[in-house]
């Protein structure tokens, strides 16, 4: 049930959290969501390889209306090139006031998902198109982090 109007609720929830509880609370919400709600996905990433992560993002964006996204596997990393961000596009098409920190949700949700599954997350760009990279941590790093 990928109804694009749901992006309105996502954008509005970010604004509400930011305006009522502050930026730190919004970041905590994003990171908790990445860690907890997406646990089944990060468990698969943790137990799989780069291809597992790449296929997961390919499948995910395939269900997002109007997304134009290319996912590739590089050496020790998965690159997600987002030419058209479906959320930003739908919000803009419908003249919605997009919160200025909208793109940061990827940094924190994907960052938290990466943290628990042996990757680091990096984003370049934003505002409707960006390049995201999930870089594999050297073997043993994740265990060291847990300690």
């Amino acid at each position: 049930m990928a109804a694009p109007d749901f992006y309105f609720a996502i954008n509005a929830t970010f604004r509400h959290l930011h305006d009522v509880y502050g930026k730190a609370a919004l970041i905590d919400y994003w990171r908790s969501l990445g860690r907890e709600y997406y646990r089944s996905r990060t468990d698969r990433w943790k137990n799989g390889d780069l291809q597992t992560l790449a296929v997961d993002w390919q499948n995910y964006f395939a269900e997002e209306p109007q997304a134009v996204v290319d996912v590739t596997v590089a050496a020790h990393a998965v690159e997600v090139n987002i030419t058209v961000c479906p959320a930003i596009k739908h919000l803009r098409d419908n003249h919605r006031d997009i919160v200025p920190y909208f793109c940061e949700h990827c940094d924190h949700i994907c960052g938290a998902m990466a943290d628990v599954s042996g990757y680091t997350f990096h984003r370049e760009g934003g505002g409707g198109s960006c390049r995201q990279r999930f870089v594999q941590l050297p073997s043993g790093t994740e265990e060291a982090r847990k300690c």
Partner: protein, 355 residues
């Protein structure tokens, strides 16, 4: 990225995030301000422009986008817009994906709709939902009288309406869940009120034959017994009238339970309870003339005693009774229960008679 394909899942998770950090009012504020006030502003706009007709057109559009199995009936001459939802895709997403992070997902619809409709001069005359994906709503322009319409699509004529427990709204107000127990519409309040007079609860299981099963304390008329449907259905195992009975999803003895329940005078009947877990058999209590059981998961979730694990095994009925007694902060004694600490799982497990 946070997508719209699994929106209902992270929306529900968000409700629990709000409730657990900032309380019930914070979640109501999120629904009213962020969802009703901002996200759904296009509903308010069309309602202001064209009244019930505008709302009808918007809902038809939404229904197509979200693949809703519903019927909207508009009769402007009678000042009525009515919705009958046969299969809510939003609740359906949670059931299909075995998600249950929050206490009450269905509550969110009235949570945003009611402030929105009130702000544009509409009233929700009546609304009911059964927490299983079925609901109905009647709207009117508040400044004119309305004449209720009888519709063929009335969801209450559908056999699925016999399942679940009902929350009801009249004239923009949510009604008590069980008015003879509490004026509150919150199932947690109903449970607290029902057990208020009992400081100690005896959990009565049906494992009277196992060497490991506890037999004390002896049961007598003053004992507040909490038991399962299987035990209650067998009068030899449960000779006293229990204060409450948890009906599990497998409820093999539901007919026997109904026979005993209905033969008991109303003042001595137990409160019927049920977990209403997702992806478990949905039971029809109404056809057996039983009252719809009160849900126990909201209280367990609110107290932090239950976290739904989509890939994990569900707790059994006696384990749920333990959690309920803990949530109610009662002293607990056991009878007919063989309990042990599982060395690998690291939690208390109840040995079931069939094990």
């Amino acid at each position: 990225m946070l997508g719209c394909q699994d929106f209902c899942g992270h929306y529900e998770w968000t409700f629990h995030y709000f409730r657990s950090r900032w309380g019930q009012d914070a979640l109501r504020r999120l629904w009213a301000e962020a969802i009703g006030g901002e996200s759904q502003q296009h509903y308010a706009k069309v309602a202001l422009q064209a009244g019930l007709r505008g709302l009808y057109d918007q809902y038809v559009k939404t229904g197509e986008e979200e693949h809703c199995d519903w019927t909207y009936t508009l009769d402007e001459s009678k000042n009525v817009l009515r919705c009958d939802m046969r299969e809510c895709p939003s609740k359906g997403f949670l059931i299909k994906n075995n998600l249950n992070a929050d206490e009450d997902y269905c509550d969110h619809c009235q949570g945003w709709e009611l402030p929105l409709t009130a702000s544009v001069g509409l009233e929700i005359v009546e609304h009911e939902h059964n927490h299983c994906g079925q609901c109905w709503t009647v709207y009117r322009l508040k400044d004119r009288s309305a004449e209720l319409v009888d519709v063929a699509a009335d969801i209450r004529k559908d056999e699925r309406w016999r399942c679940g427990f009902i929350h009801r709204w009249e004239k923009d107000r949510r009604l008590p869940l069980l008015s003879f127990v509490s004026e509150s519409s919150d199932p947690c309040d109903v449970l607290v009120q029902w057990f208020a007079a009992n400081n100690c609860i005896t959990i009565l299981g049906d494992d009277i034959d196992s060497p490991g099963a506890s037999r004390e304390p002896p049961l007598h008329e003053q004992t507040a017994v909490l038991t399962t449907d299987n035990t209650y259905a067998n009068r030899e195992r449960c000779p006293v009238d229990p204060v409450a009975v948890l009906i599990g999803h497998d409820a093999a003895n539901l007919t026997a339970l109904a026979t005993r329940f209905l033969a008991t005078s109303p003042g001595r009947r137990p409160l019927l309870l049920h977990p209403y877990l997702p992806r478990m058999p949905i039971l029809d209590f109404v056809s057996l003339e039983l009252p719809r059981p009160i849900p126990i998961l909201p209280l367990l979730i609110r107290c932090g005693l239950y976290v739904h694990q989509p890939s994990g095994a569900n707790p059994g009925p006696v384990e749920l009774l333990f959690l309920l007694a803990l949530a109610l902060q009662k002293r607990i004694s056991l009878a007919g229960v063989d309990i042990h600490l599982h060395p690998k799982v690291g939690r208390l497990l109840v040995k079931h008679k069939k094990d």
